[in-house]
C-alpha cells in the first residue's frame, strides 16, 4: 500500500515537474522587442541585396513560400510558410504547393498564387534593369505556373536536391504581383508584405520600427506588439546597448570576450545560445603562381596546421571553434569525425602531419620552405587572430610568411583581380545546403579566386546536386571533399565560425541556427515580464 502511494506521489511529482516548465514557457503576448542590427539595408528589396542588415529589420514584414523550421537548430529543415502543403512528383521534376487561404498583404489585398508566381518570375528571370542576385540558384527551373489561386507549380529541367531548401531561402519574400507588374523597382523603397509585422518607420542610420499585424494569417501570432531595430555599427556600443538593456538581443553574433563580459555583468539576466556558424575562412592559393601550382606544396601547407590546438586557443578569443569539413558540423551532410581525421591536416598527430609536410616540401624541391606574402582582410574577428595563427603554423615547417592587411573595402577587388599568392578567403551561407556552400569551388565560378581548374570537382558537384538519394549525395560530397581538401588541396579550410548570441533572458521563442540570415520573422518570439 505504502509502495503504491509512493509510486503515485512520484508519478504526480513527475507530471508536475514536467508541466511546470511547460506552463512557464507559455508565450506571453505584448511588449516591444528592441534589437541591435550592426549593419543597415541599402534598399528594401531582398531579391537584390546580400546583407543581413536587410534581413534582420525587414524580414518580419514578409513571408516566404517555405521557411526553415524556426525551432530546428541545424537550420536545414524546410517547413511551410505561405505553402500549407506540397507534393513532389516521382521523377522529382514537379513540385506542387498548396497555398494558405485568407492570407492578406498589409494593404488589405489577398495573396494568391499569382503573387508567388510573379515573385519567382522576378527572382528567376528579372525584367530588364532589375537585379536578382540569386537567379543562378534556380537554373534548373523550367517553368513556374499558377493553375489556380491556391496552387503554385514548379517544373524543373533536372532533379535538384537543394530545390526545396532553395524555396525556403530567407531572401525570397513574396511580393504583390500587381505592384511588381506596375513598377518592378517599387519594393526597393517600399514595404508591403504578408508578414507578422507592419511597417511603421525607418530613420536612416538610426532605427526601424514595426508593429503587430492584427490580421496575420497565423492566428494568435505574433506575440509581440511590435519591434524596434536599432542600427549600431560599433561593437563596443552594441555590447553597451545589451548590457544597459537599451536592446535585448543582436541576431548576428558576439565574440567570446564580449559574451563573457555580458555574462559577468548581467548574470542570470542573460541567456547564451551558441551554434556552429555557416561561415568559414579558408586559404586560397593562386594556382597560376609558382610554387602554389604544386599540390605537394598546398598539401604541406594544410598539414602544417594543428587545427585541434588552434581550436582550443582561438575559440577563447574569436568567433571560430569547430574543426570541420566542407559542411557545417552537426548538419546532415557534415563529415563524420572518423572520416574527417583521415583528411590531410586533420589527423590528431601533429608531429606526424608536419613530418609528412616536410617530406612533401622536399619532394617538391623546396625542403627549407620559402617566403611568401599572405594577404588578409582588415577585420578584427576572426580574420586577424586567424591570420596570426596561420603564419605561426606555417613557420613551424619552414615558411617565412609576411602578412599584408588589406582594408576591408579593397579586399574583394584584390581577390577578384587575383592579386595575391596566398590569401584569406571566406564562405558564408544563408542556409546550410551543399549546393550553396560548394558552388564557389566549381572551376567556372566567379568566386574561384585561386583559379583552380578541376573537372573532377565540377563533375562531383553536379553529381551531388542532382542526386535524388541522400546516401548517394553524401558519397559524392565526401569524394568532393577529399579531392578539394586532401588530394589536390585546392584550398585550406581553417576553423568553422562559431555563432554566439547572448541575449536578455526576457527574450523567448527564438532558436539559434547556423545562419544569421535565418529565423528573423519574429513571429514566434515573445517577452517575459
Amino acid at each position: 500500500m505504502h509502495r503504491r502511494t509512493g509510486l503515485v506521489t512520484f508519478a504526480a511529482l513527475l507530471v508536475l515537474a514536467l508541466a511546470l516548465p511547460a506552463a512557464a514557457q507559455t508565450p506571453r503576448h505584448g511588449g516591444e522587442l528592441t534589437f541591435v542590427v550592426p549593419s543597415e539595408p541599402p534598399s528594401y528589396d531582398a531579391h537584390q541585396e546580400e546583407t543581413f542588415g536587410l534581413i534582420h529589420p525587414i524580414a518580419p514584414h514578409y513571408n516566404t513560400l517555405l521557411r526553415v523550421d524556426p525551432v530546428d537548430k541545424t537550420g536545414t529543415k524546410p517547413v511551410g510558410d505561405l505553402a500549407e502543403s506540397w507534393t513532389i512528383s516521382k521523377d522529382q521534376l514537379t513540385y506542387t504547393f498548396k497555398l494558405r487561404r485568407g492570407v492578406k498583404f498589409h494593404d488589405g489585398s489577398e495573396m494568391t498564387s499569382k503573387d508567388v508566381k510573379a515573385t519567382y518570375d522576378k527572382i528567376i528571370k528579372p525584367p530588364a534593369g532589375v537585379k536578382s542576385l540569386r537567379a543562378s540558384a534556380y537554373e534548373s527551373v523550367k517553368s513556374v505556373e499558377a493553375p489556380d489561386p491556391s496552387t503554385i507549380r514548379f517544373t524543373l529541367k533536372w532533379p535538384e536536391s537543394s530545390f526545396l531548401l532553395n524555396l525556403a531561402s530567407p531572401w525570397n519574400w513574396i511580393y504583390r504581383a500587381d505592384i511588381i507588374a506596375k513598377d518592378p523597382h517599387w519594393y526597393e523603397k517600399n514595404i508591403n508584405g504578408t508578414g507578422p509585422f507592419k511597417f511603421v518607420e525607418h530613420v536612416k542610420g538610426s532605427h526601424w520600427v514595426g508593429k503587430k499585424n492584427p490580421d496575420y494569417w497565423d492566428k494568435g501570432k505574433p506575440y509581440l506588439d511590435g519591434y524596434r531595430a536599432i542600427f549600431i555599427s560599433n561593437s563596443a556600443a552594441q555590447v553597451a546597448a545589451i548590457r544597459g538593456e537599451r536592446a535585448l538581443i543582436q541576431f548576428r553574433g558576439f565574440s567570446p570576450p564580449e559574451r563573457d563580459s555580458l555574462v559577468q555583468a548581467l548574470g542570470s539576466k542573460i541567456t547564451v545560445q551558441e551554434s556552429p556558424w555557416d561561415c568559414l575562412n579558408f586559404v586560397s592559393m593562386h594556382h597560376e603562381k609558382k610554387p602554389f601550382n604544386d599540390k605537394r606544396v598546398r598539401r604541406a601547407m594544410s598539414l602544417a596546421l594543428d587545427r585541434y590546438a588552434g581550436s582550443a586557443a582561438l575559440s577563447k578569443i574569436t568567433i571560430v571553434r569547430d574543426v570541420g569539413g566542407i559542411l557545417v558540423p552537426g548538419t546532415p551532410y557534415a563529415t563524420p569525425p572518423g572520416e574527417l581525421e583521415k583528411l590531410a591536416g586533420y589527423g590528431r598527430d601533429i608531429n606526424a602531419n608536419r613530418a609528412e609536410a616536410k617530406r612533401l616540401l622536399k619532394e617538391a624541391g623546396v625542403p627549407d620552405g620559402f617566403a611568401f606574402t599572405f594577404k588578409n582582410r582588415g577585420i578584427p574577428h576572426p580574420y586577424e587572430p586567424l591570420g596570426i595563427w596561420l603564419i605561426d603554423q606555417w613557420r613551424q615547417i619552414g615558411f617565412n610568411v609576411k602578412q599584408e592587411i588589406v582594408e576591408a573595402s579593397a579586399y574583394h577587388p584584390m581577390l577578384k583581380r587575383g592579386d595575391f599568392e596566398v590569401a584569406m578567403d571566406f564562405q558564408c551561407g544563408f542556409i546550410v545546403e551543399p549546393d550553396l556552400d560548394l558552388a564557389r569551388f566549381v572551376s567556372t565560378s566567379d568566386a574561384n579566386y585561386g583559379k583552380h581548374k578541376d573537372t573532377a570537382i565540377d563533375d562531383l558537384y553536379s553529381r551531388q546536386a542532382r542526386a535524388t538519394d541522400p546516401e548517394e549525395r553524401k558519397k559524392a560530397i565526401r569524394q568532393l571533399e577529399k579531392r578539394l581538401l586532401d588530394d589536390e588541396a585546392h584550398v585550406i579550410y581553417t576553423l568553422q565560425w562559431h555563432r554566439i548570441i547572448p541575449h536578455n533572458s526576457r527574450v523567448h521563442g527564438w532558436t539559434i541556427t547556423p545562419s544569421h540570415y535565418l529565423n528573423n520573422q519574429l513571429d514566434t518570439v515573445w517577452l517575459s515580464e
Binding site: P42, E50, F52, G205, S233, A265, S409, P413, A439, D446
Partner: protein, 317 residues
C-alpha cells in the same frame, strides 16, 4: 572694411572649387568601388555581368572627367544627386544627420566656452599660484585625453554605477527635450572637455600677453578699477586668438566626431563619413566633404567679420 569683407567673400569660391577637385580625385584613387562592395558581400559570388550592368546604371563606366562635369553641374544647382549605396537623395541623407551634429557641436562649444574663458582669465590673473597650476593641470589633462576615450569612460562609469546607458536612438529636442539632453549631454561633455582645454590654454596665454601691454599699464596708472580694465581693455583684445580657436574647433565638430559618434551611436555626419568611405559611396562622400568644407569656409568668413569688429585696425584699414 566692406572691401575687406568682399575680398574674403570672393575667396570662398576658388577654395570650394579646389576642395571639389581634390575630393573627386582622391576618393577614386582608393581601390574598390561601391558596386563591388555592395554585391560581392558575404557570399562574394556575383557575376561580372551584373557588376558591369550596375556600374553602367550609376554612371561609373563614364570617363572620370565626364563624371566630374556632371557632378559639378549638379553642385552649381545645389543638387548633389543620389547616394550610390542607398539610392536616396543626398539631401535626405544629410539633413537627418546634420541636426544632430550641429546640436552636439553647439552644446560642446557652450560647455567649452563656459569653462575656458573664466578659467583662462583666472589662471592668467593668478599666474603661478595654486589656482593657476590647478587650471593648467585641468587643461593639460583635457588636451591629453581623446574625446572618444573619455566617452567610453563615461559609458562604462554609467553602466557600472547606475546600470544605465544613454539612449541609443536620437530624439529631436522639440519632440522630447529631456530624452534629447539625456542622450547628447555625454558626448557634448566628452568633446567639450578637450575643446575647453584648447580654449583655456589660448585664453590664458592671450590674457597674459595683453595684461603686459602698455595700454593696460596706462589704464592702471589712470586709476581705472580692475574690473573695467579687464572687461573693456584686456578681455576684448585677448579674444582675437580665442575666437579663432573656438571657431575652428566648432567647424571641426561638424563631421569630425568620427569615433565619438560611434562610441555613443550618434547618427551624425561623422558616422556617415565613415560609412560613405567604407561603401565607396562617391556621391555621398563628395557631398559630405563639400558640406563640411562650406561650413569651415563660412565659419572662417564669420571669423573675418568678427576680427573686423574686435580689431579696429582691420575695420579702419
Amino acid at each position: 572694411m566692406w572691401r575687406y569683407l568682399f575680398k574674403r567673400f570672393l575667396l570662398m569660391f576658388p577654395t570650394m572649387l579646389g576642395v571639389a577637385v581634390i575630393t573627386f580625385v582622391l576618393i577614386r584613387v582608393i581601390p574598390g568601388d561601391v558596386v563591388e562592395l555592395r554585391y560581392a558581400g558575404d557570399r562574394g559570388a556575383v557575376s561580372q555581368e551584373l557588376l558591369d550592368k550596375e556600374r553602367t546604371r550609376i554612371g561609373l563606366d563614364q570617363p572620370v572627367w565626364k563624371q566630374f562635369l556632371v557632378w559639378m553641374a549638379g553642385v552649381v544647382r545645389l543638387d548633389f544627386g543620389q547616394s550610390m549605396w542607398t539610392g536616396a537623395p543626398i539631401w535626405e541623407e544629410l539633413k537627418l544627420r546634420f541636426a544632430l551634429s550641429l546640436q552636439v557641436a553647439v552644446m560642446a562649444t557652450v560647455i567649452a566656452v563656459a569653462l575656458a574663458i573664466p578659467l583662462g582669465v583666472l589662471s592668467a590673473l593668478r599666474q603661478d599660484t595654486w589656482l593657476d597650476y590647478a587650471v593648467r593641470l585641468f587643461s593639460m589633462a583635457g588636451l591629453a585625453t581623446p574625446s572618444f576615450w573619455l566617452g567610453i569612460v563615461f559609458i562604462l562609469a554609467l553602466l557600472i554605477t547606475f546600470k544605465w546607458v544613454p539612449p541609443m536612438v536620437f530624439t529631436p529636442f522639440w519632440v522630447n527635450p529631456w530624452e534629447n539632453m539625456v542622450q547628447l549631454i555625454w558626448p557634448a561633455l566628452a568633446v567639450g572637455y578637450r575643446y575647453s582645454a584648447v580654449a583655456t590654454r589660448m585664453t590664458r596665454s592671450a590674457m597674459l600677453e595683453v595684461l603686459r601691454e602698455d595700454y593696460i599699464r596706462t589704464a592702471r596708472a589712470k586709476g581705472l578699477v580692475q574690473k573695467l580694465i579687464l572687461s573693456r581693455h584686456a578681455l576684448k583684445n585677448a579674444m582675437l586668438p580665442v575666437v579663432t580657436v573656438v571657431a575652428i574647433e566648432f567647424a571641426f565638430l561638424i563631421g569630425g566626431l568620427v569615433v565619438t559618434e560611434q562610441v555613443f551611436n550618434l547618427n551624425g555626419l561623422g558616422l556617415l563619413f565613415v560609412q560613405a568611405v567604407a561603401h565607396r559611396d562617391y556621391t555621398l562622400l563628395q557631398a559630405l566633404v563639400m558640406l563640411v568644407a562650406s561650413f569651415f569656409i563660412i565659419v572662417n568668413f564669420a571669423m573675418d567679420v568678427m576680427y573686423a569688429w574686435l580689431d579696429p585696425r582691420i575695420r579702419y584699414r
